[in-house]
Symmetry: C2
Subunit: 262 residues, 2 copies
Amino acid sequence: MNVDSIQKIVFIGAGNLATHLSQALFRAGLPIAQVYSRTESSARSLAERLNARCTCSIDEIDRDADLYFLALSDKALVPVLEQLKPTRGIFLHTAGSLPMKVLQPFSKLYGVFYPLQTFSKKREVDFSRIPVCVEACNEELKALLLDLGRRISDKVSEVSSEQRGQLHLAAVFTCNFTNHMYSIGQELLQDQNLDFEMLQPLIMETAAKVQTMEPRNAQTGPAIRFDEQIIKKQEAALKQYPIFQKLYRFVSESIHKMHSKN
Amino acid sequence: MNVDSIQKIVFIGAGNLATHLSQALFRAGLPIAQVYSRTESSARSLAERLNARCTCSIDEIDRDADLYFLALSDKALVPVLEQLKPTRGIFLHTAGSLPMKVLQPFSKLYGVFYPLQTFSKKREVDFSRIPVCVEACNEELKALLLDLGRRISDKVSEVSSEQRGQLHLAAVFTCNFTNHMYSIGQELLQDQNLDFEMLQPLIMETAAKVQTMEPRNAQTGPAIRFDEQIIKKQEAALKQYPIFQKLYRFVSESIHKMHSKN
């Protein structure tokens, strides 16, 4: 099978990732026939954009598709798979933290198609720049997935389950935890009647720097020298915020340790 | 005094902030006559770009300037001030974490001119978008500093020493600590032979999101629900990285606490 011979794709899931991925595939000319979501409005709204049918009943999922994208939460994946009637289609999950093998009991042909990005329904993203990590149960499927990935992204690579797990962990730090740092900034500013807007250029520049520099070389601030005087002063200034204070000490120590290793 | 009557500016310090700020002022037509740095090469290289003289001797700093920008590290500021011969000029420091009052013993007219950004000598920045926070010892100087700020930035505001301290703390979280999250991502990827490039689009999008959304509303990931199953699994996956593991647990708890408050 090659990408041009794919006649029918079903999307199982209509969340943020499913929304962006299915639309990117649709724009690239791939035939998405049906969308399943247990939430009817989500299924319908996505299906409309894809000129596809929708269903919110697992029993009504088409059984003759070539490809099934399982874009579900980690928790929902296996329970939905257990209810799916057998098909001959290829099963692909899209999760960072789940090994490929979770699909093995459910299909002869299975793989992973993992786009590494944070998706929100409201925000447009340029899919061509999103790294797509693929893994497949055999060489032929791997070739198909690499080709499929290249239809929507310039950055497609083969990534093992172990590597993908680590990538997902790295994404938790660089996306989820980073956003928490932004939230702490927001809270600190709010308490002094300052607008979060003031931090926006700093946040953009901090992210822009590591597009061309290694983060380790971009590190600045008192923690890198572990200037105990400034650290104690800043810790004291956080006395009203016991959690942030503990975090401040802890992240400062982690920065110092990372930089004193070299 | 108004901005157009300023005849002579001296820059004390030639580091990252001094380099960018002095050049922005220079481009706006302000007369920078001299640059001091204890490192001769830094003083000379910046002075050349400003068509100014340079010195690395505190004794040779011009005594007849209208304005002295003290763009020094927190530690260096007071020791340098103590060696400066008396002048009638206005003293301005550029530090986030130092109160304005540190300048009081050294001059009748003093204030703060704090651009909130992370500066590297090698990277160009668009100064017009950088928030400039001013504080002054009297109303007349405040008006002057607001006007001076507007010559180089569209975002100038009056910020008290207390507010600025909090702003600086917020900047430590959103810039220094965020960059550490990036570094952790880099290390995790390296250990699996994955390129840091894979995280770059995610990092940019995470920063871009909070340019239009509040970070608290942009939070995603397992920690927000405190999904103990995923958290335990990810913690276990970090067993080779005891510091990152502890950080993982701790930041996850902090995210959960912040989100269960509301």
